[in-house]
């Protein structure tokens, strides 16, 4: 094994920046992809999760189909579809930067998992709450808005914590569509400098830190929102 050379981070990449600067940009892209995808995944996933619990047959079928579609195709293949296939079918998409396509790809992929959690959360509530809301004259959307979702969201927060860590890990797949995030940096920089071990070590540590910080933030939210008297409360 060759000597580990930590100075490579201060070397110029040939593009007017040091490897350290490139690394920091790559970290920024990783966080940007992951966090934006998380926002999309939470919004879409909640909606689809709700669809899967409503009495309307068409909506619940749509929800099921959505979940199965995005759950049964590998993420990397989904990103290729966003990047290579959809712009062919919808030419305006060629104007959209690849970074955003990756965000949507990762977001929709994760939405299927979040929909699953949201559905489970809604079904965990006693049926009586739904009936009580409807009996009081609330419409179905009002029942969801004021009775079901405020409880369901607080129940599904713990699984969403682990999902938010997964999204950091899964954002690494965006390397496949040329997003200059951490894994892409690791691959390229290792090749250019032949200091693979040093580069991989640093990148792995940054993934650790990112996942750890997200986990702490999510646990803080979890702690604030826990429903008294349920599992996880009283700690």
């Amino acid at each position: 094994m060759g000597k580990l050379d930590w100075n490579i981070f201060f070397q110029d990449t040939g593009g007017g920046q040091t490897y350290l600067q490139w690394l920091m940009h790559a970290w920024g892209w990783t966080l940007a992809v992951a966090l934006l995808a998380l926002v999309i995944a939470l919004a879409v996933g909640s909606l689809i999760g709700i669809f899967r619990t409503v009495p309307n047959k068409a909506l619940s079928f749509f929800g099921e189909a959505w979940t199965e579609l995005f759950r049964n195709i590998p993420l990397i293949v989904q990103l290729f579809i966003w990047y290579f296939v959809l712009p062919r079918i919808f030419p305006p998409l060629t104007q959209v930067p690849g970074f955003l396509l990756a965000v949507f790809g990762l977001g929709f992929f994760t939405s299927a998992r979040i929909a699953e959690q949201v559905k489970a959360g809604i079904q965990a509530l006693p049926k009586g709450q739904r009936y009580a809301g409807l009996a009081m004259g609330l419409t179905l959307p009002q029942t969801y808005r004021y009775v079901i979702m405020p409880m369901a969201f607080r129940i599904v927060i713990p699984p969403l914590t682990s999902e938010s860590m997964n999204i950091i890990k899964n954002s690494s797949v965006a390397f496949a569509v040329q997003v200059s995030e951490l894994l892409f940096f690791a691959q390229q920089a290792a090749e250019e400098t032949s200091q693979g071990v040093v580069i991989y070590l640093v990148v792995t540590v940054l993934y650790f830190i990112s996942a750890f910080v997200i986990n702490r933030i999510a646990m803080f939210i979890e702690h604030k929102l826990v429903v008294p008297g349920t599992v996880g409360a009283g700690k």
Binding site: M1, E68, L69, R71, N72, I73, P74, L75, I76, V77, Q78, F80, I81, F84, V85, R88, I89, P91, M165, I168, K169, N170, S172, V173, F175, A176, L183, A186, Q187, A190, G196, V197, Y200, V203, T204, Y207, F208, A211, F212
Partner: protein, 223 residues
């Protein structure tokens, strides 16, 4: 670029010359990593539940370390480290098989841990009471039930594993996805071949998960 998708290049000889080789490797990788991962994972789970510090700590460190690093990064690590350690390259395919076995063991061990914990403690006590050793208790009472209880979860994890094998893309191993990619370059039809790849992965994974769902229902009735 022409907007209409053109699948005229698809034929049996296309499938046999590009896709079959990749599919065989993907399935091989999935099966070896699943079997190896379940065996190592079960050992890790037993270590973590042994209550002995010298077993618990290394097993916990192994599982937590691998579970917090992206799989693609782990694949890169092994591809870099194996040649440094043994002095020669094993090739992308063999390197992928080793990586996935080691990596998936961490995930299977969490499943097996839950499975072992799902067996009531009283049964272990009963085993000890009739004079069984720890090994006999585990082998004859706990593990058979743990496997049975966790069978649907183990199979679901294996479907996820099959999807994850597509990440060998990062080191260029020739798997199912690579087969589609190479042929896409060959015929200059990348959009069409990626779409086909999605359809093939979907059909395989969706039908397998339907089977698992059935199995789950069946097991639920018997118990």
């Amino acid at each position: 670029m022409n907007a209409a998708l053109d699948f005229s290049f698809v034929s049996w000889s296309y499938v046999s010359s590009f896709i079959v080789k990749g599919l065989i490797f993907s399935v091989e990788l999935t099966l070896i990593a699943a079997l190896g991962g379940i065996v190592i994972g079960t050992l890790l789970a037993l270590m973590r539940l042994s209550g002995k510090k010298w077993f618990v700590a290394p097993a916990a460190a192994y599982v937590n370390l691998l579970r917090s690093v992206p799989l693609a990064m782990v694949i890169l690590w092994f591809f870099l480290l194996i040649p440094l350690l043994i002095g020669r390259s094993l090739g992308a395919e063999l390197s992928a098989i080793i990586t996935f076995t080691v990596f998936e063991a961490a995930y299977y061990s969490e499943v097996m841990r839950a499975g072992i914990q799902s067996v009531p403690k009283g049964q272990v006590s009963a085993g000890y009471a009739v004079g069984m050793t720890y090994k006999q208790c585990m082998q004859l009472i706990v593990l058979p039930q743990a496997f049975r209880n966790m069978l649907p979860v183990l199979l679901t994890q294996t479907i996820i594993l099959f999807q994850d094998t597509s990440l060998v893309y990062v080191i260029g191993a020739y798997d199912l996805l690579k087969g589609f990619e190479v042929s896409g370059k060959n015929f200059n039809r990348p959009a069409e071949t990626y779409l086909l790849a999605a359809v093939v992965y979907f059909v395989i994974c969706f039908s397998l998960s339907m089977l698992v769902r059935r199995l789950r229902a069946k097991i639920a009735i018997i118990r």
